[in-house]
Symmetry: C2
Subunit: 480 residues, 2 copies
Amino acid sequence: MADNQKKLVEQITSMDEDFAKWYTDIVKKADLIDYSSVKGCMIIRPYGYAIWENIQKILDARFKETGVENVYMPLFIPESLLTKEKDHVEGFAPEVAWITYGGSEKLAERLCVRPTSETLFCEHYANIIKSYRDLPKVYNQWCSVVRWEKTTRPFLRSREFLWQEGHTMHRTAKEAEERTVQMLNLYADFFEKDLAIPVVKGQKTDKEKFAGAKATYTVEALMHDGKALQGGTSHNFGDDFAKAFGIQFLDSDNTLKTPHQTSWGVSTRIIGGIIMTHGDDSGLVLPPAVAPIQVIVIPVQQHKAGVIEAATAIVDTLKENGIRVKMDDSEQSPGWKFSEYEMKGVPLRIEIGPRDIAENKCVIVRRDNREKSFVSVDELVPAVKDGLEKLTAALYEKALKNREQRTYEAEDMEQMKEISQTKSGYIKAMWCGSLECEMKLKEECDVTSRCIPFGVKPTGNRCVCCGREAKKLVYWGKAY
Amino acid sequence: MADNQKKLVEQITSMDEDFAKWYTDIVKKADLIDYSSVKGCMIIRPYGYAIWENIQKILDARFKETGVENVYMPLFIPESLLTKEKDHVEGFAPEVAWITYGGSEKLAERLCVRPTSETLFCEHYANIIKSYRDLPKVYNQWCSVVRWEKTTRPFLRSREFLWQEGHTMHRTAKEAEERTVQMLNLYADFFEKDLAIPVVKGQKTDKEKFAGAKATYTVEALMHDGKALQGGTSHNFGDDFAKAFGIQFLDSDNTLKTPHQTSWGVSTRIIGGIIMTHGDDSGLVLPPAVAPIQVIVIPVQQHKAGVIEAATAIVDTLKENGIRVKMDDSEQSPGWKFSEYEMKGVPLRIEIGPRDIAENKCVIVRRDNREKSFVSVDELVPAVKDGLEKLTAALYEKALKNREQRTYEAEDMEQMKEISQTKSGYIKAMWCGSLECEMKLKEECDVTSRCIPFGVKPTGNRCVCCGREAKKLVYWGKAY
């Protein structure tokens, strides 16, 4: 049993030894993805896809509570449409996939596979928005998008990925800004409550913002290794796109006005973020809200009379109470099963054997800290619910502590260089706002601006780079 | 009020006058789709997409009950992979869209946008199936596919459409055949119970079967105008693909064997089928199971004291009971609203005004036959549930009657020609099984074989075309 367990665990590289290898080991060994002959794309396997389905279910319900309606736009964008908004096409044209043939016929105009759908939504909105009564429009779509990346990694950066993209139109600038912030807050809440991932909310610098946006807000998470991950973004477009696409509405004062626009999205990157925030050397650790299996029941000495029956009764009880539960009564040893479901990050394991049955109890083991508790079968449901909640809270605390320990401050370039060379994490430093300094920090310290955080006190009043007056505090770091 | 109502209805072409125009009027006026500059593709608007979401929810739950797991495969297929199975590539290569550039770089190998994903699933299965313990694999994906059609019509035939494609691998031929039939029956049940669309279950002739399949089973529905619509198909591939892709497993008898494969799918075509089966000259008529709004509540004389409150109470009560309900308290007249929600096919309308309130009742109007009933507010929930059930049953009966009235029999070519020229519907006729006769029927009578129905008695023993011995009864017809 111990041997078996060891064997399985040995297959994963330790995270301290090689974090990148540990990551790719996990996505393969936990059956999240497989590779195919389609370079830079991935196959999302049932266990990985079930995590995405849970993410979708939670977010979709939350979106709809705020008035979002789902639609589906074409997969393709004609070249002439993509190029309508100048900044946008500059940002995306270098990385799109081009369709040039339909069957054996050469197309008169190239079509790209959507890298994002602002242009399609704008064209549609130009058709359907005529009056202030048609506003707001708060649409979203769940789909896949394609960006022709050079280097790819499962979930984090792939040529095709799944996401949702919300696109909204509003009567006033104020309303658009409110929607931008509302969606940012919704994402932040989802990350923190459901995924147990603490985030920093803030604004992207002009250099890092979305191609064509007036302002990009972001939720940034810090991974176990101290690198940052952009979790979700919410953009305020102002009326630039609307003007480029000729979208106008007749307001109640009988004048023609241009509406204000937002877009916001999260993608399957989130799954990469979950792995790198919570995982450990035994494999995945999944937050219960999105875990495909929340509780795995493992019968011990399952050939003995009454064991399978008792385990089945536990499964039935938990199912009735809305818990996602599975029993593994395969021929593998209990030790093998323990390792297997640790690898898969199942939050709670229940073991039940003849001795437990005699005492009307079972054992609950938490995935994160392996804490065991002996629970009376009559107390099972509250014990499991409590265990799932405590695990979520513990994951959040652990991730928050990691972030706090990995958040540094720099006052000048010397400190900046020293920290960026010796530590891995966020570096808080003041910034004058110039692109020049941002470029220099990238070049000399290999850090990018993650965001200008909301509600965080300035650490000084001089730019970390040029020493001139600085009002903006920036979180700098290396990012996935 | 009557004027308003007339005006709105006048915008739709009558179905008897021009069925095709009636159809396109409805998809636009009921806000199901919009066109874009992407030729041959459609925008599925919120009301149309909500129907698709309901279809997905029902089918996905039913799939999962039978052990189906969802996955996501890449959007692209390298040319060399598409061409691995001979029949398959012959069927699909002429109608795929080809990616030739990624950004500004020409690709070494062309990629097509998936027209269907057998090849990708096979490549993956070759990776993950090693032992009989790995079988069966019962995977499905919800995605969009692309086929470069010349002529397109919203929902019925478009260059991109949404669908689900199930792909399974089995240890034995028998098990694969059972899964093929199981999924066909699942589709038939869904069509009949949830969509109120009667179907004929049967097998496709070799000419009409899926490119690469050994056998294709189908559920065929008859539209209001007498044309047939293929509703869903389930294919048994035998082991041809598996052989082409080198998929083998070690069986319990320690010998290497080739697994047997199925695939099955339904698409957004279904929405076209719903429109053309149940719609009328006032617009859509939606079966309650997939209607985004099942009940529309319209307050009458809504400015009078207590009307909005009473209408809101009705909405709340129905919502609590799991009914999808909406109130329209906009400034439009009740007559305008009546027309609008008839156009949108909302199954039940509830009217409530001051006089109703005084009598503690409301009026329920059925969309299909406009039957009015006066219901005590205390009896509301059972009355609504009953109304929805009766409407579903009535839609089914009406569609079945249409099919029965439009099902003809032919014994020889003279009868076949006469019926196909003067009637529109199914023609039951015996067939010898030769491709020659099938082609001749297409050429001379402009009919195609819809299916060889299961469990329907032969109408004779001579081929309708050549007069030779015939054992197969075929439903012939014109199809969308």
